[in-house]
Amino acid sequence: MNDDMQRQLIQDLVIESLEGLDSFDAEMLALEGSDGKAQDHLKLAFRMMHTVKGSSGCLGFETIEKVAHSGENLLSLLRDEVIPVSQPVISGLLRCSDALRDMVHCLEVGAAPETIPHSDLLQLLDSLQRADANDPVAGPTSPATSASSQAQPGWGLFEEEPLPSAIPAAVSSESIPEELPVAVQNLSSADNANENPGEEIPGKLGPNNATGAPRASESAIRVEVAQIDRLMNLVGELVLARNRILQLTGAMSDPALNGPVQRVNLITTELQASVMKTRMQTVQTVWSKFPRLVRDLSHDLGKKVVLTMEGQDTELDRTVIEAIRDPLTHIVRNSIDHGLELPAARLASNKNETGQLRLTAFHEGGQVVLEIADDGRGIDPARVSKKAIERGLISADDAARLSEREILNLIFQAGFSTAEKVTNLSGRGVGMDVVRSNVEKIGGTVEINSSVGEGTTIQIRIPLTLAIIPALLVGCGGNRFAIPQASLLELVRLDPSNSTRSIEWVDAAPVLRLRGKLLALLDLGQALGLRSQPPAEDAFVVVVEAGGRKFGVLVDSVLDTEEIVVKPLHRLLKSLGVYAGATILGDGQVALILDIAGLAKRNGMSATRKLVEAESTQGQTVVDDGAKSLRLLMTRVAQNRVAFPLEEVTRIEEIPANSVERSGPREVLQYRGRIMPLVRIGDCLGELRSTHPPDLIHVVVCQLRGTQAGLIIDQIEDIFEERVKIERFGNERCVAGSLVAGGKIADLLDLERIAEFAGFERRP
């Protein structure tokens, strides 16, 4: 672990803990005010204490963890109404919070938290736990002598379960740690420090008299998201005003005006980019904590775990990042603690002794999906329903009626925990309910899939609310709609003269034959009640996939692609279920964003999907002849047919040949506000030149070694999805091999070799 990362983790802990402790105090005071919502306050306070304990434990600050653990124990007794809420108890808890705050301040300035006296406090918290309803005044004046916490009256949900040995150690004053960190020995006399550090150190080593390093809470400020939203709105307006100014000055062509206007133009663009960036963060910001967490947890538990992460670059809105931080941490902890087995148990069940934990993030259907998957023991629905009945969460009758999936979802109920023992890490019945409530707060969903013996996958779907997404703008019935590109597969233009490019009808349902498969169509105009007559013969089909459904959306026209800022819809429109939000377009007008999954659901597209799928698997004998299924963009360069792997293609553009400019030896194009290098595929394939240069050239936009580049071809032919066998005859440069698609031979391009050929530098 490098120092920077360590420091970052500690800083995060400091900020998070201080905020948590402030709200903890507020909850305690509210609890004392007895407004009849004692349980709510206790639950919130418990969560905060739990977070402080968890995060400090992860970073190995045992003293903080220990104090928080004591506080948490006391809170859980209060929550379960084993002991009554009383003034001494609240005072004790507030003292606990004060001590924690002091310790956290120590971390901030690089001092050891152990230097804060805490053994008195631990004694006090311990004695408060034993105070029963009739004797609420056991307090600091009567320090308890018994070190055993086994005698604690009741543990709520867990009373039948034996306490692990870690807990008595934590709450008893006698067992203050023998070994002490070096830092403490430096600060006090070494002899005494070995006895009982907390009490021996004179005075309080607060942050004020420690080093002069700036506090973490000062080097970063927290800005309300609403503030950034406002900023973003204003920048958006500025961009529109700028555009108008550019138009006007363009018409006037006054050189004195041009300079300043260009400056305003540049500044506005930069401002917009900066504000956007302020809001967006990659999921890596949350994930970067996990390797350490996984290492420490698995170490403590004697498990072997390998963590793999995919899609770290997936960008999320700041608010979303904040909201998923805790849920993800909880799930990861749970997976290691409860999901993955000990190496011996894994070997016994024929698994590799090293458990797999996989984090994946990606965009799908206009949502961000975060998956946490382990290959552990899985969750047994029978055990879940048994526990749920025991805990009184559901009745036995209910349990019998629930599906397996519904039963699994019971683990998201508050107060549910199937762990046989309460460990320091998880299993107190907070966790999964926090996960769900946090995710639902931002309009997301959590789903759990598990099969016994094979593992558990938890999928968090977060809506695109507040996110900036690329979208396709389509026209229908005189309206413009945005379709999130995440759910977009391809576009097909209908052609009445070609039977595979025109609408056919099965009963009353329109379908399209797309590469030999039936694709169900949804007429957007009709679905939204914009028109009743059938769509034009040369309409467009937007092929989309969302919520597990693949279908075509019939629209009148395809307008443009644009990066749009998603704005939430008013409550009155959300209930329609067909719009995911609204956005403001470049011209200042509002456009609605279609919720493809919702649209499909509302129009009953799910039923058609099975049929399409059945058809696609039917008649397709899978023979392993070295062929693989590929989606190909077929193009023509001079006389050659040239195929692009479709997943590598970002966009296809048609541009006037005279807009190609030169920069150094390269041909370049001004494309979406940037300079895009061009590569002539004809050159890559050996000086192939078309006989007559066209006025319009076709450019396939791809990523070459991380750079967006345009590959020039003569003509677009079609898209194929076929099982093809790639054969090589020689070492043709830039070509991966030859294949037969659509009954004709084509060369399959190798983009890496093209990048090499065209001299692109490797970029991350």
Partner: protein, 154 residues
């Protein structure tokens, strides 16, 4: 004394507590919301914020104005975002004592009564004060458009 922002709908005089009003703007081009309630006239852009425009004539079940009639949007900040109240014409700002207001008489139409907060008797006529919250509680009158059954290709 409380300030009221007054406006006209079909020649009747209405008012909103000034506290609820953010600003007033001239009618803008609206983006219609297909499948939405007929009361929802569309969405508009207010300095980068999306405003939901409510046709107050339709909300109060008054006859539609003629298409060439100009209208005004009164922007209010509701709990679920900005809402523009589309009204015929703005009136004066009235400073009135809420103690002088009366409950709406039982004879007013049900559609009006559910959103009326109180009534002032002014020299020029009655001033009907609307309850901004209640005006937006209208999920129930959203026409339900359901698709006929589930399409099956088989």
């Amino acid at each position: 004394m409380t300030q009221y922002c007054t406006f006209y709908l079909a020649n009747k005089h209405y008012a909103l507590p000034m506290m609820d009003v953010q600003e007033v703007m001239l009618q803008q081009e609206l983006t219609p919301v297909p499948l939405g309630s007929s009361v929802v006239r569309g969405l508009m852009n207010l300095r980068g914020n999306i405003v939901l425009s409510i046709d107050m004539r339709r909300r109060l079940r008054l006859p539609d104005s003629s298409p060439d009639q100009e209208s005004v949007q009164i922007i209010t900040q509701g709990p679920s975002g900005l809402v523009g109240w589309m009204v015929d014409q703005m009136g004066e700002v009235a400073e009135l004592d809420p103690a002088c207001s009366e409950m709406p008489p039982g004879t007013v139409s049900a559609a009006s009564r559910e959103v009326l907060q109180s009534v002032f008797q002014l020299e020029t006529g009655l001033l009907l004060v609307l309850d901004a919250q209640k005006v937006l509680e209208m999920d129930h009158d959203r026409p339900e458009i359901t698709q006929e059954g589930v399409r099956e290709l088989a």
